[in-house]
Symmetry: C2
Subunit: 865 residues, 2 copies
């Protein structure tokens, strides 16, 4: 018997063509008809009406809004539906996060935030068993590892490169075991991964839609099942078509179970339509069994389907690379969004860094920081805003302009309440009630306090668990200042050397004096002319898709006007390529990298040409087309030009087809301004106007390191952490707080460990995540295991007991039991975790350990180190 698992679902983007609130309420339906409040209302009513029905839901950002508006009876009904498995959460993050542009920290935290709410509302039954990434445009290996470590049993994907998919389909390898880490011991980072839909020859993949002709939402136009008499009767034809689709799909998968996604974007606003027709489809399909049909249709969920696959006890293929880049056609590489909306991407990074500052200070200062003295402070607004920004149409840069503006608005609102909290915490920890200033406009060199005051105090909070030298740039009004450190001593200095072409002003060579290395490096800016379609394909470049109209980019300028600045603290070469493209190359004493701070924009488009601006580094290194990029800013994957590890690539876009997402290692593209939509639903050109309508200018920093491969990780790993969570600057007028220096830690962490999360959980507990920064074998020192004593680590509180949790922070580690899967290389069994001793917490390479710690805060007089 072939079992067809029908999975009713609604894919509810946490912002895209409309803002989150607009989607929730169903405002602005002329842009897109979608109202999530009604979806949840309607689904709950329809599930209540018939116990055989099932529904899966993913986006907790919407569920949270909805829950707040429900009365007691509805909440109780929802709990009942969850308890009985009629409503199942999949994914269960605050949103369904992007995988290319999302940094692993906030990507993890948005999952944790959603899962935590589910746990609080529904207990263990609310905890999702499967990850559900059916729409993101390519899939990251690190995120797979994250899912595995949170306890998910499986991961379902919707979008896989069409060539990859076609090969897998023929080999019946659409379902596989994905090994998400080469450092963690299997099965720690292993996750069963399935592609939710099959591909029919000559037919576009339906991604997470239902099979053709079987879409019964109000947004579809397929005929409903008509089983009465009359000219419209179609039930026999519809069941035939369903059985045909099932038979085709069954040939592409390995068991006698297949899954069909019955839903799509913002479906189920009128859930009755779907369920009434699915009821009929199931009844009529199963009735045919009396005449010998061997197909059984049922309401199901992905976890139920997964249990059946597991029960089949087959051997599955193993995958160790990732699913980037994604293309859905020969000229349709979804590599444009890797750098769409760089300003929003930058603001998301700044915000998630500040969230760590805010969160840490909240935990260190204790509950009083939420109360005053600067007013009520709150980290949850920023936490939710950063979580929302992880959505695969948020940080991805594939949302409409007004939606991008709204994400920024949400983040800014989060900053406001976090800044009050930070001020409260600094006041409590440092003993000041003077006004503090946050200088939010430093990016445009505006800070009234530093510009006007003859004397002011710079307070720097470093969220890293180690000491750091950090240059601070402030606009000032005076011509000379005395700067003193917390102890009142002058700051001292020492060093890379960099050579420039004296004629063109371009970077030409880098010397690492300490290691005696040098490398010719030519760097400059270019732009690709965005395709508007050509004879090969009408595909235009757009927010999602990168498609240059030629393989050679055009230089922004042949030469740069340059200006050199030399001080004891910094040497800067300012390069001016054009009115809209400039760069500062910066070297500082003791700084092991060259910093390139570039400014691009407003990109001119008055010539009618969309432009994809790149920063290109050319070296004579013989790399054989190999390079490395990161996975969510943490893992490092090897890439090769015109090559994919698991299939024989037919390369049809020599530029776009070789782009990979880069978060912390090698930026390639920097900014884009396009005049066409790329036909993936956005319906708007990526033509960011900026506040003055002239086009958006963005600024970014590239750090270039030159060194021996063996020592590279010890250089780039810390730099990446510093960029992700940089020190946060606050100004105080006058002499500032009484306490001149404070450390939340009694001692720094070992250099290969990172304090990934420190988050207050009520008045007497905190959530901790400790992270090992290195891959196995990556560095002689860095890749060593490291051990830390949690009990005495913090100065502001004492850890009295800990409970180790799975990565999400919501489930005790010992209660996690995951399905095990066979591959050709065997069936890895999980190591039984020993009961953790908080005095000796050991981390292996790439490991992240999560603890819920009970803490006792010191009294008001006990603060400080």
């Amino acid at each position: 018997m072939l079992n067809v698992h029908l999975v009713p679902h609604s894919h509810d983007d946490v912002g895209w063509l409309k803002t989150v609130d607009q989607y929730y309420y169903g405002v602005r339906n002329w842009d897109q008809h979608a109202g999530v409040q009604y979806i949840l209302d309607s689904v709950v009513a329809q599930l209540a009406a018939d116990p055989s029905r099932r529904f899966v839901y993913a986006e907790v950002a919407f569920l949270a809004r909805w829950w707040r508006q429900q009365d007691r009876a509805t909440r109780s009904l929802l709990r009942e539906l969850v308890q009985e498995g009629r409503l199942e959460f999949v994914g269960g993050g605050w949103c369904m996060s992007d995988e290319a542009a999302a940094h692993y920290g906030p990507a993890l935290e948005q999952l944790a935030l959603g899962r935590r709410l589910l746990r609080r509302l529904f207990g263990a039954c609310g905890t999702p068993r499967v990850a559900w990434q059916i729409d993101p445009f390519g899939h990251a290996r690190h995120l797979a590892a994250t899912f595995a470590q949170m306890g998910y049993d499986g991961l379902f994907l919707g979008r896989v490169d069409h060539q990859d998919k076609w090969v897998r389909l023929q080999r019946r390898e659409l379902e596989l075991l994905w090994r998400g880490s080469s450092s963690l011991e299997p099965p720690q980072a292993d996750i069963f991964t399935g592609e939710v839909t099959a591909l029919s020859p000559g037919i576009l993949p339906n991604v997470y839609d239902p099979p053709a002709g079987l879409c019964w939402d109000q947004l579809c136009a397929d005929a409903p099942l008509v089983d009465g008499d009359g000219p419209e009767r179609n039930v026999d034809a519809v069941v035939d078509s369903f059985l045909g689709a099932a038979a085709t799909q069954a040939q592409q998968y390995r068991t006698n179970h297949i899954l069909m996604t019955m839903g799509s974007d913002f479906h189920y606003e009128n859930a009755h339509l779907w369920f009434k027709n699915l009821d009929k489809l199931i009844a009529h399909t199963n009735a045919r069994q009396a005449n010998g049909s061997r197909v059984h249709a049922l309401y199901s969920t992905p976890s139920c389907y997964l249990r059946e696959l597991h029960r089949a006890n087959l051997t599955w293929p193993l995958k160790t690379d990732d699913f980037f880049p994604y293309s859905d056609g020969p000229h349709q590489f979804w590599t444009g969004y890797f750098s769409s909306r760089p300003a929003l991407k930058g603001y998301e990074r700044l915000s998630s860094g500040f969230l760590q500052v805010c969160s840490q200070l909240e935990a260190l200062a204790g509950p009083a920081a939420r109360v005053g003295p600067y007013g009520p402070g709150d980290s949850s607004v920023l936490r939710e805003a950063v979580a929302v920004a992880q959505h695969h149409d948020a940080v991805a840069g594939t949302e409409r302009q007004h939606v991008a503006n709204d994400y920024a608005r949400q983040l800014a609102k989060g900053w406001d309440t976090c800044q009050v909290l930070v001020a409260n915490a600094l006041s409590l920890l440092g003993g000041t009630k003077d006004p503090l200033e946050f200088c939010n406009a430093l990016n445009v060199s505006v800070c009234p306090l530093s510009e006007a005051s003859p004397q002011f105090t710079v307070i720097l909070y470093n969220p890293l668990a180690r000491a750091l030298a950090w240059p601070v740039r402030l606009p000032v009004g005076g011509s000379s200042y005395a700067v003193s450190d917390p102890q009142g001593r002058p700051v001292a200095s020492q060093h890379l050397r960099v050579l420039f072409d004296p004629v063109t002003g371009h970077l030409s060579e880098i010397h690492n004096l300490a290691e005696g290395l040098s490398l010719p490096v030519f760097q400059s800016f270019y732009w690709y002319n965005a395709s508007t379609g050509d004879a090969l394909s009408p595909q235009a470049s757009g927010a999602y898709i990168f498609r240059p109209n030629a393989s050679d980019p055009i230089p922004v300028a042949k030469a740069a006007a340059t200006r050199l600045l030399k001080t004891p603290l910094v040497q800067e070469l300012q390069q001016n390529f054009s009115a809209w493209c400039s760069q500062v190359l910066r070297l500082r004493p003791g700084q092991p990298y060259l910093e390139l701070e570039w400014s691009v924009g407003p990109i001119p488009v008055s010539d009618g040409l969309g432009k994809e601006v790149i920063s290109r580094f050319r070296t004579p290194l013989a790399t054989a087309g190999r390079f490395h990029t990161d996975s969510n800013g943490r893992q490092v994957l090897e890439r090769r030009r015109d090559y994919r590890p698991t299939w024989n690539l037919s390369q049809s876009e020599p530029v776009a087809g070789n782009y990979y997402p880069v978060n912390t290692r090698i930026f390639i593209e920097v900014h884009r301004r396009l005049l066409r939509d790329d036909g993936r639903g956005l319906g708007e050109a990526l033509d960011e106007p900026g506040a003055d309508g002239r086009g958006l200018a963005v600024r970014g920093r590239h750090l270039v390191l030159l060194g021996a491969a063996a020592a590279a990780a010890e250089r780039h790993r810390p730099r990446a952490q510093e960029m992700a969570t940089p020190p946060h600057l606050v100004l105080a007028a006058g002499p500032g707080p009484h306490l001149r220096q404070f450390s939340g830690l009694r001692r720094p962490l070992p250099p290969n460990l990172h304090l990934l999360s420190l988050e207050a959980r009520g008045a007497v507990s905190v959530l901790l995540r400790l992270e090992h920064l290195y891959e196995r074998g990556e560095s002689r020192n860095g890749s060593r295991p490291a051990t830390v004593d949690l009990t005495t680590l913090f100065s502001a509180f004492t850890v009295t007991s800990v409970r180790e949790m799975a990565l999400g922070g919501d489930v005790p580690l010992e209660s996690v039991s995951r399905l095990l899967w066979n591959t050709d290389t065997g069936t890895p069994k999980p190591r039984r975790a020993p009961r953790p001793d908080p005095r000796r917490v050991r981390l292996e390479p790439m490991e992240i350990r999560t603890f819920l710690a009970s803490v006792r805060y010191r009294g008001p007089g006990e603060g400080g180190s």
Copy 2:
């Protein structure tokens, strides 16, 4: 306090852009998103969820389909909702009938059919109290009289001529008492009539839609009420806008109650959207009363609103003319549909005539006719098909082509089952079991039996309650036939004289020899070039709107080729105007009229010009622009060129603005073929292709009578009856039934009475409608009251007792109690009806009396007269 009655409703066309079944199931949603099954499902669930909610529903054709598919619990729930007044039926006909092209007989019967089902399912609470004609394109006085006599308390209209509406709005006369008959004693035909929506200056009337910005269906894009915090909060602005609309509307009506229609075409498929937002609107509006607001919003129904108007005890204006023609702008006269799709209009007439034959024979032959011997027969299929065809986008000719085809399909299916029933009845009454042939293709002169058989029997059934001479034309294969009457005697003959212009072949003069009258009459065919929009207005001529691009029509031909045929039975002049336009003028011995049988089509459009073909009669009569047309084929209303009785007309379309609906008296326009849509939602040009794709050809008959005015009614009234319910012809091979002649009546009715309905109601009762054919004062003889003895009227059964019913046949007359309304001329009180004596049933002019009669059928041997 201003009370705003919010009336949730869904306007569900019984066919328009989709067929009835397509609308019911929600098939073909790409044409129009609409699925009535879901509307009813959804509304019932939402009403059940909150007892304060109300909903009104009109179209029983859909309710009947839905009811059949419900389980016991849902049926019981629906009964409860109706009992409690939460679901109220308005109108309650099988459909919301057209008013211009619908004949009074089937228009009445479709109302009766719907009301009867409501009564059967829900008892007295299911009986609608208000008529609900919110979409028909103009309103007929006779239909108003029909509503009054069925017991409705009020009538609500949506479309009224924009000039009329504007004048009424300023005078606060949008609500009035409409006197539907000048013959019936008030208040018999009086009905309170209101226009459901007001008009705001500069804004198009919203007809039956909600006020701007307050539309919360899935088909609308208005913002839902957002009363939570956040950037989308709009509740204050929405309530302001609602209060503004209410204040404007209150100025245009007379009481402190106003009604707002909260719904539109096929709304409430997801009723939750509407009700959730209306709940909020009501709550927030009424909450403002605490701050001094004097507006109270409530869920309501039209009957509840009507009771409040009645309670106000005001004096209302009286109206005695009708609401034709309707225009919604200076160049937008909805007079095109009076003759759109003449072939469908013709088939509807044929079918409703045949339904009378079928219905009468079913009643006369008794229940056995439904069983055999020719198989199971059934009149209900044709009854429902004819009822559906009364819809204001069916017989109106304003439906899409494929929908027009489906109406024809439904009618044809009804013919099939009725023909079996008719054959059974003829067999039972006449004693034959030989095959009968119905010759359905006589319109194209095809009848295999008559063409091939040397001998055959012609069976004619005359549904009129009086003897009739009726010419029969059959295609035959032989060259000479002996024709004998039922008694075997030859048919005898005598006569108008008609003169023709010998040069052009046109009719030039008619002589009434008997009365010594003669009148020059020039008749010919012309066409108007359909406007495609001009400098005055972009309005094109279309299915609804007639707009010629010039006031003078173009002759089809200057002269006709003619051929004369003279036999003892008929004189025919055949006129050939063009390849697509011809006419036969016919005179028969004893026939008091000239018959003009015209054929028009396929109308050529290869020149790119839409054409509106007319038959024009020109006489030198000095009429001062006055003429008469009928109202639903029964009443006669005086019309005057460029004039409206109740306001000072500003005439902007001198041709289209003088067209009136004509059903039985003076046809003007005959056929149309248009190449543009007129922008009223149909989205299709009225370019009927016909079966061969070349364009539809239609044939019609005009009867021209010439006589003194005093005697005219006695000539035209019987002719109209004969055309509406002509004798029906059946052929039998060979000698035919044993019984050569049969009459269902023991004696003919008086000539001024008509047997309007004779309909079996179960095994032992029949529904009878007797109609007085004449207006008061219209004819010396005809307008006299007439009396009939029902008990001995019928030969097939004896009437043992009768109960007099209101016109609908569903409510006993004595239980009808209607609201009485004051006008300047007083408050007419109803005459208390005496208990009817079935032996002496008296009818006054224009009266229709309805009886439910218990009958005893004669045994098989007792048949015949």
